[in-house]
């Protein structure tokens, strides 16, 4: 006989416990249903259009027959995202470096952090308006809508993601590494270039890849800055086709072949984004 006898849990309490656990489980199941359904329909409707010259032809606007594929859209998305990455990643990492190596917890650094956080809350369409007002209306570079203005917009959307994810990684670099290098007489810039950045590199890559994946699916900002085109163009100083904008246009088409193309393009876009996410995961796991 034990000294302390806990009163048994009453049937009512046990029932409540079981019901609430059941509710929490069903909440989780409900949360996963949309994911399963979206992936199912993407595969079911999208794979069908992944045929023949889907990836090797451009939309041709022909009303009868084959409406064409998504070659120009894929290449356009890659070009615009590539340029945006070339801008956002170096600038983002630089600002994160300033925050961790110089700004630290000073009042000004915290102000910068705060506004960068606020920047993430700004809807992407508002960034589209910003660039539309400052660059498109005034026809900077001789053209109204151009691909590089889309890159600028997407870069602005990626920037806070790159900065904050880089900052987290740079903070993880042990202070003792920096101090060791400084004690050996290395100047700060050398410490940053030779010790801090290489140590944090895998994490920086992960953050950048996630930012790219986020930027790739943006539609609204591109509508305001790149507009759309159907033909394949290499020039960044002109309108360009992109996957999200083409999908957006195709959805409202009355032709079922065009709607099918939207499903195929959507599957392509989601596949690209998921692959980027997987690579990001793999990179961050290997660095551990």
């Amino acid at each position: 006989m034990s000294a302390i006898q806990l009163p048994p849990i009453s049937a009512r309490r046990r029932r409540t416990d079981r019901i609430m656990r059941g509710l929490l489980l069903s909440g989780t199941v409900v949360a996963l249903i949309p994911l399963v359904l979206i992936i199912y329909y993407l595969l079911y409707k999208g794979l069908g259009s992944w045929s023949g010259n889907f990836f090797t032809s451009d939309p041709n606007g022909s009303f009868f027959g084959n409406p064409g594929g998504i070659r120009s859209a894929i290449l356009g998305t890659l070009e615009i995202i590539g340029l945006a990455t070339a801008g956002a990643v170096p600038i983002g990492v630089a600002v994160a470096l300033w925050l961790t190596e110089y700004g630290k917890q000073t009042r000004y650094a915290n102000v910068v952090r705060y506004f960068i956080d606020v920047m993430t809350g700004v809807p992407s369409i508002v960034f589209g308006l910003f660039i539309y007002i400052t660059l498109v209306i005034s026809k900077v570079g001789g053209q109204g809508f151009t691909a590089w203005k889309g890159s600028v917009t997407v870069a602005l959307l990626m920037l806070p993601i790159v900065i904050r994810s880089s900052e987290v990684v740079l903070d993880l670099v042990p202070g003792s590494l920096r101090e060791a290098a400084l004690a050996l007489g290395a100047p700060r810039w050398r410490v940053i270039a030779r010790v801090v950045l290489p140590t944090a590199a895998p994490g920086l890559v992960t953050g950048s890849l996630l930012a790219i994946a986020r930027g790739m699916g943006e539609t609204a900002p591109l509508l305001f800055t790149v507009s759309s085109a159907t033909v394949l163009t290499g020039s960044l100083n002109g309108q360009m086709n992109t996957l999200p904008v083409q999908i957006f246009g195709d959805i409202t088409s009355p032709k079922s072949a065009v709607v099918d193309r939207a499903w195929g393009a959507a599957l392509t876009l989601v596949a690209l984004i998921f692959i980027l996410n997987l690579i990001a995961r793999a990179v961050s796991r290997r660095s551990r």
């Binding site: 069903s26 949360a31 993407l42 956080d117 369409i125 508002v126 308006l129 699916g217 984004i273």
Partner: protein, 344 residues
């Protein structure tokens, strides 16, 4: 190091003193990086001022009735945006009503109830929802969710016809409506609210939970009495960040809300949101000064709205983090998730 070396007076220390020329790269780097950070702030301020400038025409023309007047009609050149504002609030409200309970339930299940081994994969699956672009949500909403849900909406409208806003609607359900838009938004904010809630729930000190269990609480009682009170501010902040996202979402909404400039009469009626009207009318407004100014003004209202929501959300998150012994990293973790998105 430089500072110490410069102050050093001993003969041996002179070896550590760098010449001004050698210190130059350091100064360049320091002020260059700092300048970059400042440039971003300046750029944002500049954008904001330009947006205010561009929307001036519309605000001068309509004054406060731009926000409070119920009449948006480009053909008569009248832009009073109450239907858009109400549409934004209704859809975002529906999104919160549906999305937050599901997100918090899933977060509680993942952190407190499910076996340790499935924890990470389950969280990752929910995070995957955030990787789906909004145009794909729109596509799915138009061709799958909308048509499949119509009978359900009919049933719902009939059963609840005694409630004013929901009722008298069963006979005239529109293919695109407030409810579908709200539901899509609920799915879209689910991963972010869930991820932030998981971060917050993970910071609840195990001592609190163990104490509750040791006193004879059941699992649910432990959640209700130890976990939820501790994490409430952080979860609230997460929900508000979700709200900010729902308010600003454009492409998915424009595809499924029906795009009607009149204020909808019931839950299943067509409507509009601030973001959707900008995306939809922007093409035709390009050569019309008043119309485009009205759209910029709508963008400004949207910007200010999301700014307020986000600032409040951050207040909640940091208040949740402060004053708590173990809560120091709630704010940091939540910020990281909110900014970088769920760690997929």
């Amino acid at each position: 190091v430089e500072a110490h070396a410069a102050n050093g007076t001993g003969g041996g220390r002179a070896a550590f003193v760098r010449s001004p020329l050698h210190r130059l790269p350091d100064q360049v780097l320091r002020w260059g990086l700092g300048g970059l950070a400042t440039a971003i702030l300046v750029l944002i301020a500049y954008f904001f001022i330009r947006l205010i400038g561009q929307s001036g025409t519309a605000f001068n023309h309509f004054g406060i009735s731009f926000v409070l007047g119920n009449d948006w009609d480009p053909s008569r050149e009248i832009y009073k945006g109450l239907p858009l504002l109400i549409g934004t609030l209704i859809t975002a409200g529906i999104a919160l009503l549906i999305g937050v309970p599901v997100a918090v339930a899933s977060a509680l299940f993942v952190t407190e109830l499910c076996p340790r081994r499935v924890r990470a994969p389950l969280g990752m699956l929910i995070d995957l929802l955030a990787a789906v672009p909004s145009v794909v949500y729109g596509l799915w909403g138009v061709f799958v969710l909308g048509p499949k849900l119509e009978p359900v909406e009919k049933l719902f409208g009939n059963a609840l016809s005694f409630i004013p806003f929901i009722g008298d609607s069963a006979s005239q359900i529109q293919p695109g409506n407030y409810f579908i838009a709200g539901l899509i938004l609920a799915i879209m904010i689910l991963p972010i609210v869930s991820a932030i809630s998981r971060e917050v729930l993970n910071t609840v000190p195990p001592e609190h939970k163990e104490a509750a269990l040791a006193l004879g609480a059941t699992r649910w009682e432990m959640i209700r009495m130890a976990v939820l009170p501790y994490s409430r501010p952080g979860v609230t902040g997460g929900a508000m960040l979700g709200l900010g996202r729902a308010v600003g979402e454009t492409i998915a909404v424009v595809l499924v809300i029906g795009d009607s400039e009149n204020l909808g009469h019931h839950l299943f009626d067509q409507g509009y949101t601030l973001a959707a009207v900008i995306a939809n009318e922007f093409g035709e407004a390009a050569n019309d000064k008043l119309h485009s100014s009205a759209l910029f003004a709508a963008g400004l209202v949207l910007f200010v709205l999301t700014l307020i929501v986000n600032v409040l959300a951050r207040q909640f998150v940091t208040r949740g983090a402060r004053g708590k012994r173990f809560g120091g990293d709630v704010g940091a973790a939540t910020n990281a998730v909110a900014v970088a998105g769920p760690p997929v």
